[in-house]
Each structure stands twice: as structure tokens, then as C-alpha cells.
Symmetry: C2
Subunit: 384 residues, 2 copies
């Protein structure tokens, strides 16, 4: 049996605060506008991926959560092709290295969260795939260069190659060479950012984001204005808010941009609905929590991706107000039982929003407590 080379990584989930929606080039996954996300802690949510290569392997394979995946799609192929080309360069420069670029790859991947939770698993998945192969090939490539490759697998994957607060710049080049992610600030710059994910009970999902965003580009009368006017200003303002650790601006921009994105979905023909009555109740609950602030500033900010789950950002110092308020009405749901959840005290002051509480009790199946985290972590735990 031939030698097996192997490398493994963990990669994080990221949740956008300025949303990616719309491609100017679907083949290369080039977006109509920039986006910014928070990388979430891999202690809570992560994809674990092992990439191996051996002359014994007869074809490229990908396994996710023990199920064989189709690897022939143009997006996965683009990632593999680019990574092999980089390895070939390295081998060319150092002829003593094994010729791994000529061998088939075996990629084994596992998420530590249920796929049904509707979290953006493809982002973590493609980031882990690219990072694991880059480790296997011992590429000197920077995270930003790798983000250009991961982007071709799944747009938002480019933001999971870094930790903390990450921007994906739209880029101007036709070949996408400058449509890459960069770190706005590290997790350690603003480490007290927390996220409470409210996982909504399974409902039949609306159109996929891949199909939906191009319908929006083609039919919305508002979208072009969002992409060309609204988002560029918000990108700058959000970067500034992050640099200044200005939660008020961060929160207002986050909520506005989530609503603006979903407004463009609704303005699509036929309209796309990702928010349902449960999502609306989560928004009203956040507004209620924010109304408790003595200076009328936000304690928390909601955001929704292409699904009904709410992600609620807040600062650690307000955990008992924000997570506590949700715990007071959602205690008993899966997710509070860990050490982090047990630590949250139900907030006593939840009154006058019984209607909202009832909707959430019916519509939310579980919660996930997490925080801002770092970028992909190399690991010696290999999957096989």
C-alpha cells in the first residue's frame, strides 16, 4: 500500500452583517456588492475536514457526514484545479517534494451541527475543504489568496478563511482576482461579541439562495439601488463601527441591512420569503429588549440569512438582558443545557409581549449560544 499524505483542519461558520446577495458573474461567484461577516467560534460550530492523497486513490472523492457527495460540479472542480495548480508551482520550485498534485484526493468532512439547522454550512464546508488541501499541499498561500479559491466553491466561504470580523470586497477585475476576503479586525480586537442563534422549526424552505439571488438581480426594481448605493456606504460605516467597537452603529447597520436584503427578496418576482411569522416575532422580541435600554440604544441586533433562523448579536456584558430575555421565554428548548447556557439567568422583566413569546415558543426548536471566534484551526485529529 502506497504512502498516504494527510492534513486536517477545522473551519468556522460565518454570519453576515452586511449581506451578500446577487452575483455579477455566476460562474466565478463574483458578487454585485461587498459583504461583511462575523466568524463564529469553532468551539460551538465547525466543519472538520481531512484531505488525503495517495497513489492508491483512483478518483477524487468527498464525504460529508458519512455520505458520499457529488464532486463533479464546476464549483468544487474549480477549487481542486486551483489548489493543484498552486501545488504544481511549489513542486516545480522544489523538485524534492512529492508530486502530490498528480494524485487523487480523498476529502472527508463532518459538521458538528445538524445540517437541518439551516446554518450556512456550505461556507464552512468549502473553507475547510480549501484550507485542508492547502495544508496537505503545504502551500505558502495567504488566507486572502485562499479566499479567492474558496469563493469559487461558495461565495460566502471566502469569509470563513479568517477569524473575527471579515469583509469580502466586491472587486473590480473581470477575472475575480481582487474579489477576496480580508480581516477587518481580529476576534481579539473585539472579543466580547456574542451570538444567540434561534433555530426555527423546519418549514419548507423557499428557493435556494443560489437561484433566489439571481432572480432578485433579474427582477427586483430596488436591488440595483441596494447594490450600487446602499451597500457601499454601509460597508464603510460597518468597518468603522468594528474598528471603534461601536456596538450601537454595528447593531443598527446589521438590522437595517438584514431588512434591506429581505426587502429585495420580497421585491423579487415571484417574491422570495425567508422571514416567516416566527422570524417576525424574533425581530419584535429584539425590539422589545432594545426598548429596555435606558438611553434608547440597542442591546442587540438581529440578522437573518436565506432562512427563518434569527442570529442575535450582543455584547457579553448584556448577556443576562439579551440571552436572559430569550431564555425566560424559551427555557426548556435544546441549547441552554451546556455550561454557557446554564450560566444565563432568565431576565425577569419580560412583560406585555405575550403574543410574541407565544409565537417564539411554537416556532423556535432550539438555540445555540456562541461568540466571535478565530479562523480555521489546523488539527491532528484526522477523519477517515
Amino acid at each position: 500500500m502506497a504512502e498516504i499524505h494527510r492534513a486536517s483542519t477545522f473551519a468556522p461558520v460565518n454570519i453576515a452583517i452586511i449581506k451578500y446577495w446577487g452575483k455579477r458573474n455566476p460562474k466565478l461567484n463574483l458578487p454585485t456588492n461587498g459583504s461583511i461577516s462575523v466568524t463564529l467560534s469553532q468551539d460551538d460550530l465547525r466543519t472538520h475536514t481531512t484531505a488525503s492523497t495517495s497513489s492508491d486513490f483512483t478518483e477524487d472523492t468527498l464525504t460529508l457526514n458519512n455520505e458520499s457527495q457529488d464532486i463533479s460540479g464546476a464549483r468544487t472542480q474549480a477549487c481542486l484545479r486551483e489548489l493543484r495548480a498552486l501545488r504544481k508551482e511549489v513542486e516545480h520550485q522544489d523538485p524534492s517534494l512529492s508530486k502530490l498534485s498528480d494524485l487523487k484526493l480523498k476529502i472527508v468532512s463532518e459538521n458538528n451541527f445538524p445540517t437541518a439547522a439551516g446554518l450556512a454550512s456550505s461556507a464552512a464546508g468549502f473553507a475547510a475543504l480549501v484550507r485542508a488541501i492547502a495544508n496537505l499541499y503545504q502551500l505558502p498561500t495567504s488566507p486572502t489568496d485562499l479566499s479567492r479559491i474558496a469563493r469559487q466553491g461558495s461565495g460566502s466561504a471566502c469569509r470563513s478563511l479568517m477569524g473575527g470580523y471579515v469583509a469580502w470586497q466586491k472587486g473590480e477585475e473581470e477575472d475575480g482576482s481582487d474579489s477576496v476576503a480580508y480581516e477587518v479586525s481580529s476576534a481579539s480586537h473585539w472579543p466580547d461579541m456574542r451570538a444567540l442563534i434561534l433555530v426555527a422549526s423546519a418549514d419548507k424552505k423557499d428557493v435556494s439562495s443560489t437561484a433566489g439571488m439571481q432572480q432578485t438581480v433579474a427582477t427586483s426594481a430596488l436591488f440595483e439601488h441596494r447594490a450600487s448605493e446602499v451597500v457601499p456606504k454601509r460597508m464603510k460605516a460597518m468597518e468603522k463601527a468594528i474598528h471603534n467597537r461601536d456596538f450601537e452603529s454595528f447593531a443598527i447597520l446589521t438590522m437595517k441591512d438584514s431588512n434591506n436584503f429581505h426587502a429585495c427578496c420580497l421585491d423579487t418576482q415571484p417574491p422570495i420569503f425567508y422571514l416567516n411569522d416566527t422570524s417576525r416575532a424574533a425581530i419584535r422580541m429584539c425590539e422589545y429588549i432594545n426598548s429596555l435600554h435606558p438611553d434608547d440604544k440597542p442591546y442587540c441586533a438581529y440578522t437573518f440569512d436565506a432562512g427563518p433562523n434569527a442570529v442575535v448579536y450582543y455584547l457579553a456584558e448584556h448577556e443576562d438582558i439579551v440571552a436572559g430575555a430569550f431564555k425566560s421565554i424559551l427555557d426548556g428548548k435544546t441549547g441552554w443545557e451546556g455550561p454557557r447556557g446554564q450560566h444565563v439567568k432568565p431576565h425577569p422583566g419580560v412583560e406585555g409581549i405575550e403574543h410574541v413569546a407565544e409565537k417564539l415558543q411554537v416556532g423556535i426548536s432550539r438555540v445555540i449560544l456562541t461568540s466571535v471566534g478565530d479562523g480555521p484551526r489546523k488539527t491532528d485529529e484526522h477523519l477517515c
Copy 2:
């Protein structure tokens, strides 16, 4: 007892197909953009109003559905002031006329539909008030001139002073003198337009339209684009569709503009939601019905005002497909029992949308079948 002068009218409800949302002058109810509506038949939905005047009356009074209403608001006062001024002119020109302009008014009004149904009752109400007083005063004023007055009571009321297909032009003058309604086409030009109203079960209403629209103007990043770019083009296209009796264009514009308006509501900070899961199911049901068309043209068009009720427009020739499809899943609800409803045959082909059907069965409390109709009708039936 002094002589009583009296005049009565019926006035219709109108449902916009290009939506009014946003005031550029809240005091005068001057809109940020034009709008177009269909006047609905007074055989089905109407406000009945009697205006009386007598030297015995000691104050202006208004009664709606047997409940005394506050008449001191600036909007009602503006209507009364303008109408009295016009009467004064008439009296000045013909001194033989009674000096009614100096006397107090008693206005008695009744809607033949439940206020709780969430139909735009203020439009019919102010149109009836203005029309009844104009009749009482025997004003020679044209419907368009009266629309300028009714607009100051409730913006969309100006569109209920005419029948058929009615536009309210934005106007350019600061005093609002050119912000008036005009008939795009009479009901008889395109008489086979039908409307099925799906009344959603009472839910706590979001913000009022008066407050909501100004929040949108103040906070939405998309609204200005809607008002200045999107609506003006649609106004022209919709007038053309009506002139040409082009249901396909009418339907597509109607659906797009409803979605565009609700998108701007969602883009408001805090977001305004009028559509709920029941509304969404009504949209999906219309899309299903339209998918049955052999040439992929719309059989029907949905539109939603500031609430969850759907109004579904269709042509008489497609009654069995459109109303029939809704009857097949909503049979047994109040509203089908009249002669018009009994005539509708449940459409047999409703399959594969059980999820949508279930949502509608739970969320819709009654249906109203109606059609395009004419403008206010003078009547000798007086309320007192």
C-alpha cells in the same frame, strides 16, 4: 323646529393597484408618488352617508356605525372648511339660496361591511362625507375638484369619488391644488374585472398606515428610489394596460407594486410587516393558479394594503379557475353563500399545495366576492 336640509350618498371602497405610501406634505396629505386604484362595486361594499344641516343644530357632529366620532381633527375640519367656502361662493352668486354655509352639520354614516375586516374604510368614509355635503350644498364642483378636498381627509379617499379605474396624480404644486384624482377609464370600459377579497383572521395590526408611511419616508434606504423612479414608470404602464384592457400587464404590475410597497415597509426601521404567513400562502396560491395557464400568463393578481388581507383581481371569464380554486380550499367560509358565491364552481385541479391550502384554511376568516364598480351614487335613503 327649523327646516332640515338633507342629502345622502353611497360611496365605494377602492383598492390600489399602484400603491400610495408616503407623504411629501403630511398636513395636506400630498403624496410622494402617484397611485392607481380600482373602485369596487357598491353593491357589495359601501359607505352610506347622510349630511343634514339646520339652524337647530348647535355643533357639527359625525356618527359612524351608530358611534359618535371626534370631528375636531385637522383633517375633517379641512374638508368641512373647504366645502363651506364653496357653498359660500354659491350663495354669494345666488343670494336667493339658503345660507347653509353658516349652519352646523350633522353627518351620519354607515359601512355595510365589518370595520374589523380591515378594508380601507377611511377612503370610502371621507369620499362619502365630501360627496354628501357637496350634494347638500348643491355644489357644481366636479369630482376631480372634490377629490382635492377628500384627499385632505384621507389621502386615498380622493380615489373613491370616481368609478372604474382611478389615478391620483402626485401633483407638483406646493398647495396641493394639482394633487387630485382622475378617471383613467370608466368601469364600463373594462367591466369584467372581478375581485376576491380574502379577509385574514384578526391579528394584532402593525403600525397604522399614517404613522408607518412616514417612518418609511424617514428611514428606508429604498423608498426614495421607489417614489422617484419605480412608481412613475409603473403609473404610465398601468394606465396603458387599463386603456388596452391588457390583463397580463395589469396583473404583473399589480403584483410587483404590492411587493415593492411591502418591501419598502420591511426596509423601514423598525421594519413594518403587514404580510403574515397567511398572506404569503395567498401569494403562493395565486402563483399556483397562474401556473395552470397554458401560456404562462396570469389568471389573477394579488395585492395587499396595510394589512394581511389579500385582494385578488381576475377577469370574469376566469372566475371558475380563480375563485373556483380558492373555493375548493375555502368552501365553508363566510362569503360564498350569496348568489355570486354559489355560482362559483370549486376548481377540481388543486393538488400539490396542501401546505398552502392548510395555511389559508387556518388564516382566512371570510371571503368577499366583488367587481369593479361606479362612483358615488346619490340616494334618497337618509340615515338619521
